[in-house]
Symmetry: D2
Subunit: 314 residues, 4 copies
């Protein structure tokens, strides 16, 4: 089918390529005309403006927005006037799930459908396929099925629970998770889990790094655990690749960024009184890695000096 794609960064460009390979028609737009032009050899059509993009798509149109969370609303507002009743907008980025019902209601006033999609896969998605967590009305989601199927990995990406019956549902690598916002909610939790998993590995490797009396070969151990162990995972595969390339991780200073979902999951958990000690600890470690705990530490040293006369070690 035809799909408009707005936002051709790492994610949007590769998703377009995967759709084109699967035989879909992509009308591609980006703030930077060069980014759109780069997709022409893959078979995309370039739209220099949003009006142009709307013109080039057959109705009812479907337009996928793949831009940073903070400019999604502005993009929707700029795009909607060029669309018509029956058209459909997908936000495939990392919006907060509470934004989705608001957007859906706003667009519904013009008869435009809105679908939220949490997209996992990173720079590997082009090759591996993207795991898609989808929220919105059943009708709108059903209409996009060919797109989702093309973007998602094949069922073969993991062994099936049972080989009886045709692969269906979540096995296909995409899932209609619920009403508007459900897709971004599930993606939000997904990323918080990701932070937790990453921290578990990082702390464990750090323990081995400081093992008293042993000098462990960390690249080899990360490679070892990829086969047959309980802790095997895709993140471990990536850890092994990183340690293979740079055994002492000298390319990194350890200032760890975070992109919103970890915080939102903590917020959501706290509002629902759900304890998330591991997920929150993983988040706080990232804040600390950026020096945000400094004043607290200085206050601790000051207290120790007050009651015990302790002088800070340098």
């Amino acid at each position: 089918m035809h799909l408009g794609m707005i936002g051709l960064g790492r994610m949007g460009a590769n998703m377009s390529r995967r759709l084109l390979k699967a035989g879909h028609q992509v009308v591609a737009h980006d703030r930077s005309p060069e980014a759109a032009q780069a997709l022409v050899t893959d078979g995309a059509t370039v739209a220099l403006t949003l009006a142009d993009l709307a013109r080039q798509l057959p109705t009812p149109r479907a337009v996928w927005i793949m831009v940073p969370a903070q400019v999604v609303d502005a993009t929707i507002d700029a795009l909607a006037p060029h669309l018509a009743a029956g058209d459909l907008i997908i936000d495939g980025g990392n919006s907060h799930f509470q934004e989705d019902p608001k957007r859906a209601a706003r667009l519904a006033a013009s008869g435009i459908d809105y679908v939220d999609v949490g997209t996992s896969g990173g720079v590997w998605g082009l090759e591996r396929g993207y795991c898609l967590m989808i929220g919105g009305s059943a009708d709108a989601v059903a209409r996009l099925d060919p797109i989702f199927r093309a973007l998602a990995p094949d069922v073969g990406a993991a062994p099936r629970q049972s080989t009886a019956g045709e692969p269906a549902g979540a096995e296909l690598g995409y899932l209609h998770c619920g009403a508007s916002g459900a897709g971004h909610f599930v993606k939000m939790v997904h990323n918080a889990i990701e932070y937790g998993l990453m921290a578990a590995y990082a702390e464990g490797f750090n323990v081995m790094k400081h093992a008293p009396g042993y000098e462990f070969n960390l690249p080899a151990i990360s490679e070892l655990w990829r086969r047959g162990s309980v802790v095997g995972s895709w993140l471990l595969d990536l850890t092994a690749a990183a340690l293979h390339q740079d055994p002492h991780l000298q390319a990194f200073a350890g200032q760890v960024g975070d992109s919103g979902e970890g915080r939102w999951t903590a917020h959501t958990a706290i509002d629902a009184a759900v304890p998330v000690p591991v997920l929150a600890a993983a988040l706080f470690s990232r804040f600390s890695s950026r020096g945000e705990e400094e004043f607290a530490n200085r206050l601790l040293s000051a207290m120790r000096n007050q009651f015990g006369g302790h002088v800070e070690a340098k």
Copy 2:
């Protein structure tokens, strides 16, 4: 080659079967003669006593001990008198790494080699192969290479970093990690990471379970994430299997056990001043799941009553 196997529980029995399938000769012993007898159809020879086991093995002998950590020393002490200089004992269970150098020294006095192996793979190891983390002298470890190779998964269990050259080292699913204790050290950290990974998933699914306004299909979501997502892992595969079989997990009460390595990793990290907030939080959640925080909670309620007159909700 020939291998004596002492301890034929879930792990020892399946490891024996995997070795037998690979063409090795296993002389099997267990406190329960039935357990040994059960392996005869797989090709094992039964030894009813340790003396018998020693008699049936060609010298230099190699004997793998696969028993609960708390009886390893007693088993070694009972076995050693039946062995001779040049023989070799492997402890493949979950001993504390600090026990290993002591055992190695004790056995060295009789000329017996000692190798510690951390074994991961659980009930799936028979089919998937066992990930083996090995500590001990290079000579002793080298001598056991055929055994390790047979127990470990094939290199094909995960994509290689580079297809250049023959598969070697950690790619084969087993690794000589260092001197005596190194195998159990790496396995200890492995299990602590396992606890952290498990807790990250568990907390995330709990957030979805309590999501305000959504009724998520958790079995489907666990299945979804297995393909193409950043959080894919073997533990997620098992989570999906568990939720597939019992969507509301009604078979479980939530009293979560722990088997030592999580605690030892925390001890080791604390002694080395390595922060492990995520690994420790995962451990403490298990303690709490068993009610161990109760008095602390009652004290909190008592304090709230004192300063604010708060009456505890029931």
Copy 3:
């Protein structure tokens, strides 16, 4: 001076009494006329309606609202029509700090001043005085100085940093912390710290409760630490009182409530990327004490069963 007091629960009633003792005139109102009537013997005047309350106060009026956070806005909306330009409303309850600037702006349209006050002291405030954290315009705060001074403890409640000069500022037990919302912000953090302090004691006593080989007299130890130790505090005084009255805390089940500020502090910290591992852990322990982690625990047991065949202990 004259003060209207709306809300005569534990806090509002005792604050009225403390003001009356200090020679102020209090016009008291509560949904329950009996609550107001109960203050007559202390010297208060009863107002049966908000209109009545406004009528009985000389202009410019000052009215202190001491009601649950969720009904503050409704109370303000009901009260404001009875007030005039130049009057002043104080919210002394536990509102979220972000509500304050909105209320201040809303009331400013009618020329009414708004001051937010975080009030600590609990059921002991009548006797000890209340610690007051104040936000709002300098003029409005200054006008209430006699009220604040009467409610706050005397400077003698703690040794001065220096005896030079007259007691002033924060030494008097009340402080203008900043613009609108500043009072509730500081009170919010205050309560989060309170959770953290409480949890530190509770965990420590729980360790002693489970000490292997010792049977500690916890009431005696709590009493002991009140004199000369580094961990002496008012919360410890209360802990000692609680353990003195009920050494095994049999009156409590350990379902620990939380009242908003701990969550808001976590939210605020996360939004500002400030790590608060201790404050968040204290909060999560309260959630867990109420069983909110149950599904997570069942999932952990299910995973253990999957990979290791572990059967849950009962």
Copy 4:
């Protein structure tokens, strides 16, 4: 009574002074003769050697050792040969509680009693008195009662639970907590609680330091909370003093030391399966303040780079 005091650092010297003021006779010894000499004006007698110290004390002797934990055993071994059956050694430092029964048994062979005392009070103890947590046999502890009473604060240091009866037991600021090791056990937990309390304040002040839209006067707020609030404590008094002297804590870099008890409490809790999320988080924050999490953070950055192409911010 007469007491030998070995170790005249900050703690030992001030404790000697407090004893001398109370009319006791102190025979003082330190590796540095100058340290002992400095106490002469306070009334102490100097012992240049341990033999000299033993000679100057009437039998049965009582000798208090106040030296770093790692040299206590060496000190005991050097001292014991100069003592006789019926004499008594007190370790008032921060030994691990498991050392105490071993020492007691060793000394019992020579008829020497051994008492372990956890001593809290820091540099303020001279003036405020020392809170003493005591372990050992009832007879030995009883014999030292005059010493304990002189070192401890007066009952007046905190309000009594009830004014009926003479002050007794823990009210006096010292307590026989149980058999050998009980004193150091209680002191160990005491210090872990101290870490937790300190971290709660430090995190809370850090939240205020980073409050969006407010510029809080942290010295004033710390002063404010000292009177009438729920979070008042001696550690808060010290925090206020520190912020009064150095409002931006410029004298400190935030490398926070730890002295053993926090670690031991975590070890003990873990061994007893007692969850201590707050106490452990406080400990880990100290490790992180010293850069011990660096490799973990670099690994996190490396993973983010692998799956998302994220480049680390500087």
